[in-house]
């Protein structure tokens, strides 16, 4: 314990020195900006600014890049809440309840809860990173393809909890999303699937164009033409902050989201969006009023927002403790370290204590900076809603198309976004949910790859899923959950029939 405090003191002395503070601040500001812009997410932001870090020393470079990373998670909720456009892929869940809250005039409150939740999650997860990095990283490494498959199947199961409407229709949408995820090069055999000769589709449809299209563009197509533009209740100044009951409602979801996001973030290969989906489903399951989800439930906003922030710190655990990238963003940060001559690896924490502890301390500082940046800006952002809608939506379209184009410099992405926009518009009209499509799109390639990798590892033997302890436990848990839900489903069905029978009897006798 004393060691940690001593190291932390060292870290803070590094982090609070003016140059490091400056770069952390720059990173946070750029990150927020990048997060607010639809489509452009932290990966795009970090990639774009990587060259700018080559002239700096390792600590400054890492601090700035990390600032962009978690800053983007703060900023991503802004457009999601105010305009139902995901600022980046992980903010898709915020679009649902966050926007509903904004429609009810609680937009300021939503932004504030998102900011505070992100702060709590960001800070608490850095504590986890600081104290538990090496053992957690070692645990995370034991997740191989079979364990992944078990986990992802559990994630698929989560889909059942996302529907506020008809479960059958959500499952249909999930199947559609899963099928869309099959576009691209098959990594196990080299075949191009459903790409029709377009090399740009080799990596699949891309979650960014699909999410921005299904949520953002569809929203504009649906509401821009209405005789009355969407009635957004413009809040008064007093109403900008959450009420006491809203704070109370958000406390537990923030806590749960933090832990959940951190654990999911540690696993190499997981995506932030999965953390927010699972958090949403968990909150809905645990809520005493699940029917509120989709209409502006505070828990449906607080949980996912916290989850995707703590997933950021989680993703850095394998990177710092083992020198292993858990995703494309940590890979860029590792490269930044290598370029500066810092060789990432299991000895990093011992060999470069100033780097590690300075970095950890800068994350604490960065989260505070972001909280201070975001809270007062709530009032500013909410005023965006006052811009007359006929001027606002062309601007939103411009930003969306620009953001989606900027990620890969590819017009094909813009086309995908437009097609998905039309699809999302039609689905809204026909009363289908669009969130399961995005989840399916993300999960399908991962599920397929994990399944086929596991079978390649075991040479076709399905026993690998039960002979490995973690996989077996996860599959068992999943099976248990399915059974429990089937039972309650059946029981509800029986109840319904019994009630109907009683009602009929009642009608007969009366």
């Amino acid at each position: 314990m004393l060691d940690t405090l001593g190291n932390l003191a060292l870290g803070f002395s590094v982090a609070l020195s003016p140059p490091i503070l400056f770069y952390a601040f720059v990173g946070c500001v750029v990150g927020t900006l990048v997060g607010v812009l639809p489509g452009v997410g932290p990966l795009a932001g970090i990639s774009l600014l990587l060259p700018a870090t080559f002239g700096l020393d390792a600590t400054r470079a890492i601090v700035m890049l990390a600032g962009i990373y978690y800053g983007a998670m703060y900023g991503g909720s802004t457009t999601s809440i105010l305009m139902r456009i995901p600022g980046e892929a992980a903010s898709v869940m915020t679009c649902i309840d966050g926007y509903a809250m904004a429609r009810k005039g609680r937009g300021g409150a939503a932004l504030a809860i998102a900011a505070v939740g992100s702060y709590v999650a960001g800070t608490a997860s850095v504590v986890g990173l600081m104290l538990l990095a090496p053992p957690l990283a070692a645990f995370a490494l034991r997740f191989g393809p079979p364990e992944y498959l078990a986990l992802l199947l559990l994630g698929l199961f989560v889909l059942a909890y996302m529907s506020s409407g008809s479960m059958l229709k959500s499952l249909a949408m999930a199947s559609l999303g899963l099928l869309l995820g099959m576009v691209g090069i098959d990594q196990m055999s080299g075949y191009f699937r459903f790409a029709y000769g377009r090399v740009e589709l080799g990596d699949g449809l891309g979650v960014v164009p699909v999410a921005v299209g299904l949520f953002g563009v569809a929203e504009i197509l649906a509401t821009a033409g209405l005789a009355m533009p969407p009635q957004v209740v413009k809040p008064r100044l007093r109403e900008l902050l959450p009420s006491r009951s809203e704070w109370r409602e958000s406390a537990a979801p923030i806590g749960r989201g933090t832990v959940l996001g951190f654990l999911i973030g540690i696993l190499p290969g997981s995506a932030h969006i999965i953390a927010s989906f699972v958090s949403y489903a968990l909150e809905k399951r645990l809520s005493k009023r699940p029917e509120q989800f989709g209409q502006g439930a505070v828990a449906g906003l607080a949980g996912p927002e916290s989850a995707n922030n703590s997933a950021t710190s989680g993703a850095m655990v394998p990177m710092l403790a083992l020198g292993v990238p858990s995703g494309p963003i940590p890979a860029v940060m590792l490269a930044a370290m290598m370029v500066h001559g810092v060789s990432p690896g299991p000895m990093l924490i011992q060999q470069q204590p100033e780097l590690f502890w300075g970095f950890v301390a800068s994350m604490y500082v960065g989260n505070v900076v972001l909280l201070i940046l975001n809270l007062p800006l709530v009032g500013l952002f909410v005023n965006i809603l006052r811009v007359p809608y006929p001027y606002l939506y062309p601007a939103i379209l411009v930003f969306s198309m620009l953001g989606v184009y900027a990620v890969n410099g590819s017009v094909v992405d813009v086309w995908i976004m437009l097609v998905m926009g039309v699809l999302g518009w039609v689905l809204r009209k026909l009363d289908f949910e669009t969130a399961p499509v995005v989840l399916g799109l993300v999960l399908a390639p991962m599920i397929e790859l994990s399944l086929r990798q596991s079978l390649a590892m075991s040479d076709g033997d399905y026993a690998i899923f039960v002979s490995r302890p973690i996989a077996a436990v996860l599959l068992g848990a999943g099976l248990l959950l399915v059974l429990l839900n089937l039972i309650s489903f059946v029981r509800r069905g029986l109840d319904w029939r019994a009630r109907l029978a009683l009602a009929e009897k009642g009608e007969e006798t009366s």
């Binding site: 970090i46 990639s47 990587l50 060259p51 080559f54 490494l141 034991r142 997740f143 191989g144 393809p145 090069i185 990594q187 196990m188 055999s189 080299g190 075949y191 191009f192 000769g197 090399v199 740009e200 080799g202 990596d203 190499p268 290969g269 394998p318 083992l322 020198g323 292993v324 990238p325 858990s326 494309p328 890979a331 860029v332 940060m333 590792l334 490269a335 930044a336 290598m338 370029v339 500066h340 001559g341 060789s343 990432p344 690896g345 299991p346 000895m347 890969n408 410099g409 590819s410 790859l449 990798q453 390649a456 590892m457 040479d459």
Partner: protein, 328 residues
């Protein structure tokens, strides 16, 4: 001379002057774009940036690196293959440039591009690949691994960055040279491939030395042999497969600069001169040192020979692998 004719002559001169001036303008007169077909942080990207910076110094004109990612590099490579051959769009390609068109051919696809659409400028670096296994595994030398593989064909697993990728082809070349059969578990990139072996989910990995060196030093992984012509400088006690008798197992993850075919000769000459000067720049040298990537500069006929030999080896390798699904 009539006034009309005078005016005509003056106008003609006025119009022709800028054209003549443009024709005489030395290359480069605009910023040059080097396309790195891989995501930022990868080998191509990390090599491209110091090269671009050094060339900028030598050419005294901005040289920018643009990442055009997708389809294991095919998107970026196709982009340069079809762009104007005026010397302002260049490609920093990895050895996969020879692999991708072959892979397209065996699937009866229209190749995204062909190697003939490029003209090589220079080879920058050639990372020899090395074979690593986990420290707890029973094989202490490459010979032991190969013997074990002969006894238990298809039981020893290895991860790779993707089918027909560089890490896969390296292993395939070894398998053919040594006559063994290994079990391939493709992953989505070099990062996940490394994670897989560190977690003990596969037995072996072919990798560029820079990423695995820290793990070898910390004792998690053990290097057995290398695919290069010479031993890796950082691991002098590790033999090459050539020394062990498998001379066909030669593989480098090399990075080279290419231009679209049709780029005028004077421009090419200038670029070759510039790259020769660029790799001699001290900043470039120190950048590559930090990345622990040895500079292996080759140009002109030397590069052409190296490239052709490498392309032939890889194409043959890809054809031997064939369509994986057909073998099941």
């Amino acid at each position: 001379m009539t006034a009309h004719r005078l005016v005509a002559i003056v106008l003609a001169l006025a119009l022709a002057w800028p054209l003549a001036a443009a024709a005489q303008e030395p290359y480069p007169s605009r910023p040059i774009t080097v396309v790195a077909p891989f995501p930022p942080g990868g080998v191509a990207d990390l090599t491209a940036r110091p090269v671009a910076a050094a060339m900028e110094k030598v050419l005294k004109s901005p040289v920018a690196v643009v990442n055009k990612t997708g389809a294991a590099g095919a998107v970026g490579m196709q982009f340069v293959a079809t762009s104007k051959p005026d010397g302002y769009t260049l490609l920093l390609a990895l050895s996969s440039i020879s692999i991708i068109p072959e892979a397209d051919k065996i699937f009866d696809r229209q190749p995204a591009f062909t190697v003939d659409q490029f003209v090589p400028i220079a080879l920058i670096s050639a990372d020899p690949t090395i074979l690593v296994v986990r420290a707890e595994s029973p094989w202490k030398t490459a010979g032991e691994l190969i013997d074990d593989a002969r006894k238990r064909p298809g039981q020893i697993s290895y991860s790779s960055s993707g089918i027909y990728g560089t890490l896969h082809m390296a292993m395939e070349l070894l398998s053919h040279a040594a006559g063994i059969k290994l079990r391939h578990v493709p992953h989505a990139g070099a990062g996940p491939a490394l994670t897989a072996i560190l977690g003990g989910h596969v037995d072996a990995l072919a990798s560029g030395p820079a990423v695995v060196l820290p793990h070898i030093k910390s004792g998690k992984l053990r290097a057995l042999a290398g695919w290069g012509d010479k031993r890796v400088a950082a691991l002098p006690e590790i033999p090459t497969f050539k020394e062990l008798g498998y001379s066909d197992a030669e593989f480098y993850i090399w990075a080279g600069l290419f231009a679209p075919r049709g780029t005028p000769e004077p421009v090419l000459a200038r670029l070759r001169e510039a790259t020769r000067a660029a790799v001699a720049e001290p900043e470039f040298k120190s950048a590559m040192d930090k990345l622990q990537t040895p500079i292996a500069f080759k140009q002109g006929q030397e590069f052409q020979t190296f490239f052709d030999a490498d392309a032939r080896r890889l194409a043959a390798g890809v054809r031997k692998v064939g369509r994986v699904e057909d073998k099941k």
